[in-house]
Structure formats: structure tokens, C-alpha cells
């Protein structure tokens, strides 16, 4: 087992606390391990990155049109 220390934005830390308090996870580590397995397993982050990069390109094209 490896131990990982991470900094979380307050809102994300609050969400993490809420899902643990909801009883869905034994503790924060359990929730984080589950989230990480899902993240690595479904490839969704690659799709989301492509969509965000598309947003960047869109904003730049908007700027170029205005010049």
C-alpha cells in the first residue's frame, strides 16, 4: 500500500466529507479509492479534457473574429 497526501479545494473536501457522512463509504480513503478506480477505469477524463480544449479553441476563434 502507498500513502498519498493531497491538497483539496474546500468545496471538494466538503463534498468528500458529505459522501462519507451519507454512509456510502467507510471513510474518506474508501471514497477516494472508489473515485480513483472509476476515474482510471472509464476514460471519461479524456473525453472531458477534449471538450475543455474545444472550449479554449472556441474562445480563441471568437477573439480572432473580433480582431
Amino acid at each position: 500500500m502507498s500513502i498519498l497526501t493531497v491538497e483539496l479545494p474546500d468545496e471538494l473536501a466538503n463534498e468528500l466529507r458529505r459522501v462519507v457522512e451519507s454512509g456510502w463509504f467507510a471513510d474518506k480513503g474508501d471514497a477516494v479509492r472508489t473515485a480513483l478506480r472509476e476515474l482510471l477505469g472509464n476514460g471519461r477524463y479524456a473525453l472531458q479534457e477534449r471538450q475543455q480544449l474545444d472550449d479554449i479553441a472556441w474562445a480563441l476563434s471568437e477573439k480572432r473574429e473580433r480582431r
Binding site: P9, E15, L47, Q48, Q52, D55, A59, E62
Partner: protein, 167 residues
């Protein structure tokens, strides 16, 4: 000004970044009852003194609600995403705003133009509605103060885009 249908995520993320007024710079923003309920649950103090002028509560047709229910029951989308997308599919706004990858993918397949929170911040900068300092602050807040995930590459490219926009 654009007609925008927004899902819960971007309104919440941009609120968390302290930049909710950016939506008003983009245009008129329509939200469905389920999205409003989700916002109330996640940000109870939001709009406690009344709604901003740019926000409009809209009610999807019974057909749109039925389509949303099917997508939710099928596990494709959450309730707010499904309802707002079904409404957008019906009304064809200029933009459907969501930070959910599946909802955005489905919007694309329905020929509904979709953008996310990052797009809203950068679009306002590109349109000249923000100073460079404000745009950079909003971008930093979007990554540091919200639950929105942005990859390292996206953060870098977004910073480069702002530099180009304000060159």
C-alpha cells in the same frame, strides 16, 4: 447576447469561483425546475435576495420531461442534466452549458451547441467583457475553489489562451 440553457454544474462551479455574474455577460440563462432544486440543495444561500435579471426559470414540456426520465432511468444522465438537455433539445438555444462529459456528448449528438464552465470564462474574456486581471483571477478560482476537474494540459492551454486574448 445569447440564449443559454444551463445545467447545475456550471452554475455551481462558477458560483464557487465567485464569478456567477459572467453568465449575465453571456446572455439570458434558462434553468429548469430540477436544476433550480439542485442549486438550492448545493448552494442554499444562492439568490436568497431574488433572482438576477439574466436568469429565467423555465418549464419543459411533458414530452421533454418524459425523455429526460428515460435518460435518467437508463443511467445515462443525472436528473438535472437530463431535464435541462431535453429542454434545450426542444427549444434549440444558442448554447447548452454543462460540465458533464456525457451530457455534452449527448448534446453534440442532438446538434445542440454545448460549452462548459471554462468556455464561459474564456468566452467573456474573448468578447472583451473582462479585464485580463479579472479573467486570470476567475480562471485561478475555477481550478482552486471549485469541484470542477481540469487537466494539467487544460490549465496550461487556458492560461496560454488568456495570454493570446489579451496580447
Amino acid at each position: 447576447m445569447k440564449l443559454v440553457v444551463a445545467d447545475t454544474g456550471p452554475l455551481l462551479h462558477i458560483h464557487q469561483a465567485g464569478a456567477l455574474h459572467l453568465f449575465g455577460l453571456v446572455g439570458e440563462v434558462q434553468v429548469t425546475p430540477t436544476v433550480m432544486a439542485e442549486l438550492r440543495r448545493h448552494a442554499p444561500k444562492l439568490w436568497a435576495d431574488g433572482f438576477p435579471e439574466w436568469l429565467q426559470l423555465v418549464h419543459p414540456s411533458s414530452n421533454a420531461i418524459a425523455r429526460a426520465a428515460q435518460r435518467t432511468a437508463g443511467g445515462l444522465l443525472d436528473a438535472g442534466e437530463a431535464e435541462s438537455l431535453a429542454y434545450a433539445d426542444e427549444t434549440k438555444p444558442d448554447m447548452f452549458v454543462t460540465d458533464d462529459a456525457s451530457a455534452r456528448l449527448m448534446a453534440d449528438s442532438l446538434s445542440v451547441p454545448a460549452r462548459g464552465s471554462l468556455g464561459i470564462v474564456l468566452f467573456c474574456a474573448a468578447r472583451g467583457s473582462l479585464s485580463q486581471q479579472d479573467a486570470e483571477q476567475h480562471l485561478t478560482a475555477l481550478t482552486a475553489k471549485t469541484t470542477l476537474w481540469l487537466s494539467a494540459r487544460v490549465k496550461l492551454e487556458a492560461a496560454r489562451a488568456l495570454a493570446e486574448i489579451f496580447r
